[in-house]
């Protein structure tokens, strides 16, 4: 029953919250849709935390998504021992980078009185969930060799079963507890997303690259819109 709730019901609840509340917040409180940067209050430690954190976690997320979206291709990619070792070493370096960077960011929020003053309860919850996520991820990488052997046969089909609205909890139920924790905590992060400053992940300003430098708005433009 617990497995059912955690592996079959909770992911849908998390996604529903992320999409529903995310859109609701965007529509009625667009003002709050940002990361509320604290670089202005403290810049040096943020450099050593934020920069490695963002780049490393983005690459790791991309790897997770590729393995989920194209499990066959991912399996082929890992087929050669040389490629496997290369990806495992890169992954381990990135994983440890995220751990160190996140630790810096958390300590920065604890120690620096200015940054501490702009940290809310939901921020602490978010940071704790993120730390749990990268720590369990790195632990899985060490103890279970990244799941290179089993991810595409277990987690990937489980995620696809969720997508197909036919949740197959057996895939996950047979895996070690730490993997289950990693999976459930991932959906916890999805659930926290619309309530926290994590909303900034969907505000990538791609339009900047193509727009002209100067922006002039006329009333008559607004009328024609």
């Amino acid at each position: 029953m617990a497995d059912m709730i955690l592996f079959a019901v909770f992911p849908y609840v998390a996604l529903a919250l992320a999409i529903g509340v995310g859109i609701y917040r965007y529509c009625i409180d667009r003002y709050s849709y940002s990361s509320q940067s604290s670089q202005f209050l403290e810049s040096k430690a943020l450099f050593w935390g934020s920069l490695p954190w963002h780049y490393a976690i983005l690459l790791i997320l991309i790897a997770h998504f590729l393995a989920f979206l194209v499990p066959a291709g991912w399996g082929t990619l890992l087929g050669s021992p040389a490629r496997l070792v290369f990806l495992e070493i890169t992954g381990m370096a990135l994983g440890i980078t995220t751990m160190i960077a996140l630790t810096i960011l958390i300590f920065r929020r604890i120690i620096n009185p200015r940054v501490n003053a702009v940290t809310s309860n939901i921020d602490w919850l978010l940071l704790a969930a993120l730390l749990l996520q990268v720590a369990s991820g790195v632990y899985i990488a060490i103890s279970l060799r990244w799941g290179g052997l089993w991810y595409v046969h277990t987690v990937s089909p489980w995620l696809w079963s969720l997508v197909k609205l036919n949740p197959q909890i057996d895939y996950l139920a047979s895996l070690p507890g730490i993997v289950q924790l990693h999976a459930v905590n991932a959906f916890l992060l999805v659930a926290i997303f619309p309530f926290s400053r994590l909303v900034h992940v969907v505000s990538i300003p791609l339009g900047y690259l193509s727009r002209p430098y100067q922006v002039v708005i006329w009333y008559r433009q607004r009328r024609s819109n």
Binding site: F40, H200, Y208, W218
Partner: protein
């Protein structure tokens, strides 16, 4: 020709007494919220001095404004791709320590302290963290501190001077300073607008006021580092950037902006300028020394029939053209040529102009008793405040620009002295007029505008044509039902 109107201003520095009334008026109206305590959309600096934030003029440190990259303009902090790569950490962003940490005092300690032999004190506490702190800076920390080895000596403009000039500047009996009030320049080629990844910052087409759409701002903070004047500020409590809005809600109600209205020295002039937006890029690409003249060229004569015709064709209302003709700013900048932009070499084409201060410039000889008509040029060469310093502030290093302004300002004084004291000959006056290039009438008009005009003449708020704006956004009868009593939505039941 793409003619645009710009609500523009002139600050007459000879008249600024450094009272900070403008700053307080602005603070009380717009920035007395949590997260904004440290922001001074309007601030008054002492020059020479390091200013607010500290050494803001030093673009090697802050990397604000534009630079020329071949035949193109590029933001000094980097192009678009580079900006995009810096969104996780902006290396050029000033931190709160470059401004100051806002503070208050634990006043309650004064009354709550237990009886004892010591005088109770109110300890300073940070307005950010609430913890006790050591106050090390404030919004006008170097106020009136010219000659200071900590502040004035580190003024980026002073560092450029020769050793002799610096020594002369800081000799105690020759100490000199003036006040520099600063607000957002509402630039034509704004670097903040260009740097915003979210596209939240925009220039209003009708009046040129530069605003940040608070709902679109995602707090990337690129505008804070891109603005060379450091006039966009990051609200640390809201995660949004904010800046001077030129009190557009007051202007839309026909009122002067708060800092203009409250100015004790009556130094502030406001009016419409017409300029050719097609020339913005070409103008901003000129060499440093040519920028001031090029920007003056970009500003158009509102009496020229060709300009009027093109303006009408471009959709400018007749009221705006009339406002441009009545504009005191046009007179100062174009007709009389005595107002200059601040740091044109940042290439943002600032639309706020300054009449450089004359008073400290003259009279370094004979304890300040030299005769005003004597040595029309040598008095400028031996100025207490080196021309090079002023040219660095107002003309991209071009001393001829500043000299030309001073000749005109001195000519005004000579003409007034001839009239009120009568110890100058007609030949001397004629010489002064020829050197200044201005007629007797123009010199009289400058005198009148500088000293005798009332608020409605100094500050010509143009018709903001709210009716057009309202029609553009909504039906007028809907607007009528919805507005008033502070309500922003029509009083209607939705469920």
């Amino acid at each position: 020709m793409d003619i645009r109107a710009q609500v523009s201003s002139v600050f007459h520095l000879d008249k600024c007494i450094g009272c900070h009334t403008c700053s307080i008026a602005c603070k009380n109206l717009w920035t007395d919220r949590r997260g904004n305590e440290y922001m001074w959309w309007n601030n008054v600096e002492t020059k020479p001095g390091t200013g607010y934030p500290t050494k803001w003029e030093d673009q090697e440190k802050y990397r604000g404004g534009w630079e020329r990259a071949g035949s193109q303009l590029r933001l000094k902090q980097g192009g678009k791709a580079s900006t995009f790569g810096k969104i996780f950490h902006n290396p050029d962003l000033p931190t709160m320590d470059d401004y100051y940490e806002p503070f208050t005092f634990k006043y309650a300690d004064l009354t709550n302290a237990p009886a004892g032999t010591d005088q109770p004190t109110a300890r300073p506490v940070s307005m950010v963290s609430g913890k006790p702190m050591k106050i090390e800076a404030g919004p006008n920390w170097d106020d009136d501190l010219s000659g200071s080895t900590v502040y004035a000596a580190n003024d980026p403009g002073v560092i450029e001077l020769s050793k002799e000039q610096q020594q002369q500047l800081f000799a105690i009996e020759k100490m000199v300073m003036f006040h520099l009030p600063r607000i957002c320049n509402h630039c034509s080629n704004a670097a903040c607008v260009a740097s915003c990844p979210s596209g939240a910052i925009y220039k209003r087409g009708e009046d040129g006021i530069v605003l940040i759409n608070q709902d679109k701002c995602r707090g990337w903070r690129m505008c804070v580092s891109a603005c060379p004047y450091k006039k966009t500020y990051y609200g640390w409590a809201t995660g949004k950037s904010e800046k001077c809005i030129l009190c557009y809600p007051r202007q839309e109600a026909g009122e002067a902006p708060a800092c203009f209205h409250s100015c004790v020295g009556r130094i502030r002039y406001l009016g419409v300028l017409l300029y050719d937006a097609d020339r913005i890029e070409a103008t901003a690409l000129k060499a440093d020394a040519e920028l001031t003249a090029a920007q003056r060229e970009m500003i158009l004569d509102p009496f020229d029939p060709g300009v009027i015709k093109a303006a009408r064709e471009g959709g400018l209302a007749d009221q705006i053209i009339e406002a441009a003709q009545a504009s005191p700013v046009y007179k100062f900048v174009k007709q009389w040529g005595i107002a200059l932009p601040l740091h044109p070499e940042f290439r943002t084409l600032p639309m706020l102009f300054y009449v450089p201060p004359l008073l400290p410039v003259l009279s370094s000889k004979n304890q300040g008793t030299q005769k005003i008509g004597d040595d029309f040029f040598t008095s400028l060469e031996q100025a207490r405040l080196p021309l090079k310093y002023l040219a660095g502030l107002f003309a991209g290093g071009n001393e001829e620009e500043v000299k030309a302004v001073y000749r005109r300002l001195i000519a005004v004084r000579m003409q007034r002295r001839a009239e009120s004291v009568g110890d100058l000959s007609e030949a001397e006056l004629l010489n002064a007029r020829e050197l200044s290039g201005l007629s007797r009438e123009a010199l009289d008009a400058i005198f009148r505008m500088t000293s005798l005009t009332r608020i409605k003449e100094r500050i010509q708020v143009p018709p903001m044509l709210r009716e057009q704006a309202i029609e553009a956004g909504m039906e007028t009868d809907e607007y009528q039902q919805g507005m008033g009593f502070g309500s922003r939505k029509a009083p209607k039941r939705r469920w």
